[in-house]
Amino acid sequence: MTHKIILIIQIVLLIIVILPFVTYAQLDNCNSTNEYIQNGADVTIIIINNAFYYIGSILEPYVPSELGTASDLLKSCILITGMLLTAIIIMLISWTSSKIVTQWAMEQ
């Protein structure tokens, strides 16, 4: 596989990783003048939060109390994993790009 294809795959991966977080953050701050859009955003946020609380209530007995509530811990873990994945993919992108640039400079 050439470096260019690897780079495209990495960029697509980065978009896949980052998109849910960007969507959630935007929905959380949504202040639309359109009533239907605002209601849709509110309902989506409530559904996502309910899902977290539901999974948190299942995990609650297994989580030590000193770590905090299970739903908060779940959210934190997802956020930290997202940030770590973003950082790793971005480092891979920079590594592949530098290889492409070196190849281009050699050709020049």
Partner: protein, 185 residues
């Protein structure tokens, strides 16, 4: 190193390093924006074992930016060496020797490093404030002391070159005057 060699080496270094520098800088800005605008606000009210999630996210972002900064400084060093070589060829004395090239490279590196580190501090500082304001202040003081030392040594390198150029000019003028006096007599 001959003038032709310095010119070719400098051109090659600029061709190789400048695009890499642009890529690394853009990637550092992207990671900063993702951390600052997406992950840190989402982790604001959350905590793991008493540690704020936004602090953990900031640490990850700072660490990534520092790794990228290392690559950025490496590329900047190559570009500054190339620019220093070209400056020594175009502005310096006749027949650029290794000392002269080194002085110009040191001066360019000093000024550019300070400029880059100050810009990077603006990014890292705003993430570091999420963790500890004291640490951000301490880092600022350390960067200031380092910048003063670096700028002083860069200025010294430039002043050594100016001194050498001035003494060469003085010698030339002295020689011209002696020749003129001899021809007059």
């Amino acid at each position: 190193m001959s003038e032709e060699q310095i010119k070719i080496e400098s051109q090659r270094e600029i061709n190789d390093s400048f695009p890499k520098l642009v890529v690394y800088s853009s990637i550092a800005i992207i990671i900063y924006l993702f951390a600052k605008m997406v992950f840190v606000p989402l982790g604001k009210n959350l905590s793991v074992a008493g540690i704020s999630t936004s602090s953990i996210i900031s640490v990850i972002a700072i660490f990534t930016i520092l790794i990228l900064l290392w690559s950025i400084l490496r590329e900047i060093r190559d570009i500054c060496n190339a620019i220093g070589g070209l400056l020594a060829l175009n502005l310096g004395r006749e027949g650029a020797d290794d000392d002269e090239v080194m002085h110009y490279q040191k001066a360019v590196k000093g000024f550019v490093y300070v400029f880059v580190v100050v810009i990077v501090f603006m990014f890292i500082g705003s993430l570091l404030i999420e963790i500890s304001q004291g640490a951000a202040g301490l880092l600022l003081i350390l960067i200031f002391i380092w910048a003063v030392i670096t700028l002083y040594s860069a200025g010294m390198a430039i002043s050594a070159e100016i001194e050498a150029t001035a003494s060469e000019l003085a010698k030339k003028m002295e020689k011209n005057t002696t020749e003129k006096v001899e021809t007059d007599y």
